[in-house]
């Protein structure tokens, strides 16, 4: 057999060279992990540290202990904002959770028709800046609103408006979590309950609700945090009603009072960190709840129940769509509500603000950069953390830092960036107000979710691929390129689209970081609204939504056709 003879020709070929006592592969892996750690230290750890230390320093940079905090709590107006924030967040949570639970229940536990349509309808607000629903509310219930009479003399500019807008904005987030929680159910439990002759009501209270309890807890915390840290909605529709988020903005942008901004930032960090910790605990329990032998629940048709759920979903879905749709519609109206002829005049942005259309293009450019660079950094980083063996401590540090951003609200992250990147001693301050810092900030802001998506995809791949490659003397970067990336292409696309959409819609972090030439579309909305050009604001918001939805549609088409045609190996 020639196989035997062949051996002589390439005995132990290609022993890789060594650098500084490491093999070449370990050297490259170590270098990349070090770069990742450096990036994360700079983009998340140090800005957070800057924020933390700032809250203990006075304007001249001297350590003053808790004096800033004491000053904060001594100011009755600021303390009022704190209670306002807590009240708004609690009320919004109490309203949105039962609403979203019923919706998610209909999607997972009934046989109603058009489930994908209703699911998509509920998720619509994810494609818009949070303040878009506030703009719609202004059109509906504002001073010129056609349903203003429904408020019986109350004003929409204040807690009522904030809560309604927040409910719309947080609804898809709650639905996403609860659909997952209700989807993880053991059908056998229902069959057992049925066999024991249990009433439907009792099954709901003893099987369904306990099964979804962790999802409910997690969703509640997420909604509470989103509301308390959201900036766009109270800015547009808050009127004279002060909340923490608008306080930070006023303290930092208006009064240049950075110390007070830092204190409020730290206060905003509390619910977010709490939500993060609860979510971690809950996630672990949720997984443990479902054994590997569980059989997914299959709902059986029941006409009356299914019809009821369709009615509910039509109403709620319609309201959610209306919260975006009215702003879209109004952006094409000549003069609301007196002249309802259609026009594109409101898209002539130079009429409303000096920067004209350029914020939109800056946003698209920023979103593209954040999406491409972010996906490359995050996926490669997750690969290094999950699949390489060398430098376990550095990889552990990188993973820890990658998990941090989800616990940091955008507003707080933005503040940290102000304190860190705008500091006179920092050589990196040349980046302040540039597109670079906006891209880095956006990647960091949405790092964790993308990181987890990448890790999940990587964990599903056979863990021996790297071992096989090593035995065949193929360096890991070849296997990364030839095997790992093609296999994970769907997850990579998910991450890219997630980053793009969030980069388009985010307001909170970047509001502190833009410069004269790097104003973003979402910030332009805030400015136009401030100057009373609400139609222009609605038009810009519409541009963002259209772009975000366009990219999502493109994503779905790519997923379906491209992956179907060029990745035949996925099918049997």
């Amino acid at each position: 057999m020639s196989v035997v003879a062949d051996r002589e020709r390439h005995v132990s070929a290609a022993v890789p060279g060594r650098l500084l006592g490491w093999s070449r592969e370990d050297f490259v892996a170590g270098l990349l992990v070090a770069l990742l750690c450096a990036f994360l230290l700079m983009s998340i750890a140090l800005p957070l540290w800057a924020l933390l230390s700032k809250s203990f320093l006075n304007a001249r940079g001297e350590f003053v202990g808790l004096a800033n905090y004491a000053a904060y709590f001594a100011n009755p107006i600021l303390v009022d904002s704190l209670f306002n924030s807590l009240f708004i967040a609690a009320l919004s949570t109490v309203i949105v959770i039962p609403m979203a639970f019923t919706y998610a229940y209909a999607l997972t536990r009934s046989c109603m028709p058009a489930k994908p349509f209703f699911y998509a309808l509920a998720l619509l607000p994810l494609f818009a800046p949070s303040l878009m629903s506030a703009l719609s509310l202004v059109y509906i219930f504002g001073n010129q609103g056609f349903l203003r009479a429904l408020l019986f003399g109350n004003t929409i500019y204040g807690p009522i408006g904030i809560v309604i807008a927040q409910v719309t904005y947080t609804f898809p987030h709650a639905v996403l979590i609860l659909v997952t929680a209700l989807g993880l159910s053991d059908g056998r439990l229902y069959e057992v309950a049925d066999a024991l002759g249990t009433s439907k009501r009792r099954v709901f209270w003893t099987v369904t609700l306990p099964g979804a309890q962790y999802g409910l807890i997690s969703a509640s915390f997420v909604v509470f945090t989103l509301v308390i840290t959201d900036f766009g909605i109270p800015k547009v529709i808050g009127g004279q009603y002060n909340v923490l988020a608008t306080d930070v903005y006023r303290a930092v942008v208006g009064q240049q009072n950075f110390e007070m901004g830092a204190v409020v930032g730290m206060i905003l960090l509390v619910p977010a960190v709490l939500a993060f910790l609860v979510d971690r605990v809950v996630n672990r329990r949720q997984v443990a709840l479902l054994s590997a032998r569980a059989v997914p629940y299959q709902p059986s048709p029941r006409t009356s129940r299914d019809a009821g759920f369709v009615a509910y979903c039509v109403i709620v879905g319609f309201l959610v769509a209306a919260a975006l749709g009215v702003a879209v519609w109004a952006s094409f109206i000549q003069y609301w509500p007196y002249n309802l002829t259609l026009t594109t005049a409101n898209y002539n942005f130079p009429r409303f603000e000096p920067a004209g259309w350029s914020p939109y293009f800056t946003s698209v450019k920023m979103a593209l950069l954040a999406s491409i660079i972010g996906t490359a950094v995050i996926f490669t980083g997750a690969y290094l953390i999950e699949k390489t063996k060398a430098f376990p401590l550095a990889r552990g540090l990188a993973h820890f830092l990658a998990m941090l951003p989800v616990a940091v609200p955008g507003l707080v992250l933005g503040l940290g960036y102000v304190f860190f990147f705008n500091a006179p001693w920092n050589p990196l301050n040349v980046f302040y107000a540039t597109l670079t810092i906006l891209v880095v900030n956006t990647i960091t802001h949405f790092f964790t979710v993308s990181h987890i998506t990448a890790l999940t995809a990587l964990k599903q791949i056979d863990k021996e691929f790297e071992a096989v490659s090593a035995s065949l003397k193929v360096p890991f970067w070849n296997t990364y390129r030839r095997v790992t990336v093609p296999i994970c292409l769907p997850a990579i696309l998910d991450i890219a689209v997630y980053l793009f959409i969030n980069a388009m819609t985010t307001v909170s972090a970047v509001i502190f970081l833009y410069g004269a030439h790097t104003k973003l579309a979402s910030i332009s909305i805030v400015h136009m609204d401030e100057s009373g050009f609400i139609a222009g604001a609605a038009a810009m918001a519409t541009m963002i939504v259209m772009t975000a939805i366009g990219v999502k549609v493109l994503h779905i088409l790519l997923d379906r056709f491209l992956l179907g045609r060029f990745q035949a190996w996925r099918k049997r």
């Binding site: 592969e25 056979d462 021996e464 003397k473 070849n478 996925r570």
Partner: protein, 373 residues
């Protein structure tokens, strides 16, 4: 414990290899030598350290202590790529997005061979594993057994001098497993490649290996040919893990003399233990003799059939000695069952051949039935 071999003969030398995970010692000063062209099996229950040892040889998980010498070269700290081996995993680990041919040729590509040469080599290897003409398919289009043969071809493509197999058959159906077992063995003989296979399946080890390394709790219990391991187990663990054995308590009443619940028995090997010491006596069920046993004959014991378990080709009987009610397992062929009219409660006179009585110093309660877990 190691079978002594001349150092220059060994292809692979493992010296005092130790690996700890926190407080758990996975490998405790393991030493072993493997000759060129040999087929060695690491056999043991899960968690015994066999896979850890294999991964240390491959350089995938470095040992904390000890040396590994491959073909005269110390590779103790070398990364996998600097060692010369091919590896096959239980999960096949085939790249799903590459065709069968691209999988097999994966390690050849960065040798800068001309394309034609790579193609020829791939075709040759696919032929070798009995999968000609399958090169354009994707792994998912093949059966489990076929996928594992592709993985084997890929591991052999670069003509490594050492082939490592990590439970390669465990994920396969029983029938496919039997066939692939023979194919791997035949291929290994033909190529003469030194091979180490990890398995927890004793039958696999007994049928395939030139030498078996039985491992337990991070140490080597015994190294030997399949017949040695089966017929002369060095420890009670090996006796218990490889094949079936019934154990009972006894005492050495003199050199080569055993006393079990008052029954006097002769045995060939008392391992030089002192007279009077308590021992565990082991006996394989198929060694119990029934035909032609007469009263008064040495090692003849009167028993009663307490239980019968039907196993198709034979029956496994649980016998109780008339004296002392000592339980002994015995395998009776269908033939013997008929001839001797063996039935529940039947009184028999059986012989326990002195050569088949294995004496171990290990106390009987130290033998747990972890094997079942």
């Amino acid at each position: 414990m190691t079978t002594p071999r001349k150092a220059d003969q060994a292809f692979l030398r493992i010296e005092d290899v130790t690996k700890r995970f926190g407080h758990f010692t996975a490998l405790d000063r393991i030493s072993l030598q493997v000759s060129p062209g040999e087929f060695v099996c690491f056999l043991g229950p899960s968690g015994c350290g066999k896979t850890t040892l294999l991964r240390a040889i491959a350089g995938l998980d470095l040992q904390d202590d000890g040396r590994i010498v491959m073909d005269g070269r110390d590779v103790s700290r070398a990364p996998p790529a600097a060692r010369d081996f091919g590896i096959v995993f239980q999960s096949y680990a085939l790249f799903p997005n590459l065709t069968v041919a691209a999988n097999v040729g994966y390690g050849l590509v960065n040798r800068r061979w001309p394309r034609r040469k790579v193609e020829a080599r791939v075709a040759e290897l696919l032929d070798l594993v009995g999968l000609p003409e399958q090169g354009t398919k994707y792994p998912v289009q093949l059966s489990g057994g076929q996928q594992q043969r592709v993985a084997l071809a890929r591991a052999l493509a670069t003509s490594p001098r050492l082939l490592l197999l990590d439970e390669p058959l465990s994920a396969l159906d029983a029938r496919v497993r039997l066939r692939l077992r023979e194919q791997i063995r035949a291929l290994q003989r033909r190529l003469g490649v030194t091979t180490i296979m990890v398995t927890h399946d004793q039958e696999e080890a007994l049928t395939m290996a030139d030498r078996i390394v039985v491992m337990n709790q991070g140490v080597i219990e015994q190294v030997g040919s399949p017949t040695e391991i089966y017929a002369r187990p060095a420890t009670a663990f090996v006796a218990d893990f490889v094949g079936k054995m019934s154990f009972f308590e006894g005492r050495l009443s003199g050199p080569g003399r055993l006393s079990v619940a008052g029954i006097e028995l002769g045995c060939l090997d008392d391992r030089g233990l002192a007279t009077g010491s308590s021992v565990t006596v082991g006996l394989r069920p198929e060694e119990v003799r029934v035909r032609g046993v007469e009263a008064g004959q040495p090692n003849a014991v009167a028993v009663r059939v307490a239980d019968l378990e039907y196993l198709g080709a034979f029956c496994r009987a649980r016998l109780l000695t008339r004296e002392g009610n000592v339980p002994i397992l015995a395998d009776f062929s269908a033939n013997l069952m008929r001839d001797m009219e063996v039935a529940l409660g039947k009184e028999l006179l059986v012989a326990l051949p002195p050569a088949s009585l294995h004496v171990f110093a290990t106390p009987i309660d130290a033998l747990s039935d972890e094997e079942a877990a």
